[in-house]
Symmetry: C2
């Protein structure tokens, strides 16, 4: 199944029949030149599925989009950065509706054909007039070239340091199918997605049931396997729109092209997920934690998450310190079944601990591995066949400094 | 039940019949003048109970002490800092036994009458000869005055910045009963105790069953309610020795003095627990998280721990930022049952959010509260009668810097 896909340019604009835009509204700060409002439009009705945050506290746009998804076939996504429209009550719900409304009017479609996403600070009302004032500009900005995609990718950035987009193409029975994505991430990245938005477009013709299954599987193997700070946001959303313009025979569950499409969607989301971790707030290391030999996959997941979220382990990575003792202590409290005297721990290929005990691998050899900007920690419990992996990062002093003062700063700026 | 106890001097030496010592062995670093070996001795056999780490990876001294506790009535505790003797295999078990053995010989008692505790770095063998070489000095150093207590308290410190001890006395039917404690804490403080050691002495006469129940209750209301970094160590141990020298009628479950003794033990452990958090590695804030109005106490505990362990929430406290949005997002992913539109959040007495929405409490008033070195965050779910509280801290850039390089540094020092 390797390399049945090919990377291409254009992000969400790569598939046929999609356009994108990104403009500046000054949502967070009226004086900022940063783009903060994105539009993605399909010129043909698109089967669309969503995966949303599991936080009990859900932002207004999340609740609105979940409702609209049940009521209509979407034709557009409007997304802003700078304000999460979360914990904003009935005024927040009204503002989310007004976002859909202004986009619908500008695009000549119905309100419930517009999905709404927001990301940014929690607990402040959206300055909705600033969005409404720029809606005509956003509609006029729509294009189907890579630049239009990049403007949209920029507009959803919060503390991201770079826009994130990818596109790939596959061939199904001679027909070319394209998939494209933009995403934003940075802080609060944890299981069940955390503060991240990802919008995927594809011109595949596919049944909604199959699109739903493919999306859930891809999310489980990508965004649900990244964690930066262990927090989970109120706004996380993955939306996948399939407008059927590739001309392929409709992909259904188990039917022709299904396996290939699922693999491609998974590959696309994995690429986006890795970009999100690599651009995590003030991180210096991208670390894959691989757990093998657990009794069950669920046990392996517990171990992987305990290690990936341990503050002390993450501090040691920041210090380029091959501290396997902190790793095994996190393994020990993970809740997974284990036997200490069976546990092996590797940094990349080098064995730091064998059967729970230090090896004679030289310290400087281990240090060389953790000095790399990307490395892999492998933990083998040597008990069974359970496996799991997550991508994560170190914890840096700069992360703490960066996250100290958001609320007061935003309040004062407003 | 308030103020039935009185604070006194002397720590673990305050109760009748206990002596303590603290000497320098150079366990972590042969050139360091820091005390690193403590002894606590009872001159009369003492009913002793222990509460140990729930980490699946248990240090050798933890396993040894659990065994000895079942086999004999203890007369001494030997405890070292600088090396945890964890993940050290059969050699580590042998070294733990040798610690008990050398103490027993120096004190003229049996090996299994000695409980062993270690704290420090994981995964390196104990330099046992350094301890054996100084055992006679330690025995000679034993005293029953406050200075001897302080030497023992110093000897168990790792990254603690100050020794921790307390003692109180109560009167039961005219007889004075004394309780004393020393403890060490600092990093890895979380439910189920984390890297902390606490040794409690008392001259109370008390049944073992009642002592066990009183200890578990006190631990649940003290050490199990503090969290600094959410990690849980391989070595945590609370030991309580009761040598019966106060001359009181034996305290039994529900019998005379039981309620008073339990309250006193709880008070003593609470004081030690607060000292541990306040001296957490590189913290600048001591924060009590109080959750009220949950459906159940268990739900309240989930909320309290999610908030207290959220990296983003802790960063905001470090920045003296009254960011209630981050708090409610942690409430949302805690797993507790809740309704966003019912949640109130207070900083000390000031309401930052009411019914899930921002209040008009001025920002500078809220900032004033979080600028205090100690403050309380109260979260009222307004659903039921469930309550829980934990003591925790902020997350500072200095914490990360401090925890970057332990392993390589220790390896190189050795």
């Amino acid at each position: 199944m390797t390399n049945d896909w090919e990377a291409i340019e254009g992000g969400v604009c790569a598939p046929v029949g999609f356009r994108a835009a990104g403009v500046t509204c000054g949502i967070k700060n009226p004086d900022s030149p940063k783009r903060d409002l994105a539009l993605i439009v399909t010129d043909f009705p698109a089967e669309t599925v969503g995966v949303f945050t599991q936080n009990e506290v859900k932002a207004a746009p999340v609740r609105l989009s979940q409702t609209y998804l049940r009521q209509a076939i979407p034709k557009a996504i409007i997304a802003n950065s700078g304000n999460a429209n979360a914990c904003t009550g009935t005024v927040g719900m009204e503002n989310a509706r007004r976002m859909a409304d202004t986009a619908a009017k500008a695009l000549g479609i119905r309100r419930r054909e517009v999905l709404v996403c927001s990301t940014g600070i929690i607990g402040m009302q959206m300055p909705i007039q600033r969005i409404e004032a720029k809606m005509a500009d956003a509609a006029a900005d729509l294009g189907n070239d890579p630049d239009a995609n990049n403007r949209a990718a920029e507009a959803i950035m919060t503390s991201d340091t770079r826009p994130k987009s990818e596109a790939i193409r596959i061939k199904v029975a001679g027909k070319e199918i394209r998939l494209g994505a933009i995403a934003k991430g940075a802080g609060m990245i944890n299981p069940n997605m955390a503060t991240m938005l990802c919008f995927v477009t594809t011109d595949a013709k596919i049944s909604k049931a199959e699109l739903q299954a493919a999306t859930q599987e891809a999310v489980d193997h990508s965004f649900n396997r990244i964690t930066i700070d262990g927090d989970m946001s109120t706004n996380d959303t993955v939306l996948v729109m399939a407008n059927g313009q590739a001309g392929n025979r409709s992909i259904t569950k188990g039917g022709p092209g299904s396996r290939l499409f699922r693999a491609a969607l998974k590959e696309l989301m994995r690429r986006m997920a890795k970009k999100i971790v690599a651009d995590g707030e003030r991180i210096t290391k991208l670390v894959e934690v691989v757990v093998k030999g657990a009794y069950t996959d669920a046990d392996a997941e517990k171990v992987a998450r305990a290690v990936a979220n341990s503050k002390l382990v993450k501090c040691s990575w920041n210090g380029e310190d091959p501290n396997w003792g902190r790793i095994i202590h996190a393994v020990g409290y993970s809740g997974a079944r284990l036997r200490e005297e069976m546990v092996d721990i590797y940094f990349n290929g080098l064995c730091a601990a064998k059967h729970g005990l230090v090896t004679d691998t030289p310290l400087d050899a281990l240090q060389k591995e953790v000095k790399e900007p990307k490395f892999r920690v492998c933990i083998d419990l040597n008990l069974g066949k359970g496996e799991y992996n997550v991508y994560t990062s170190d914890l840096s002093p700069e992360y703490v400094l960066f996250n100290r003062e958001e609320y007061a700063a935003a309040k004062q700026k407003k």
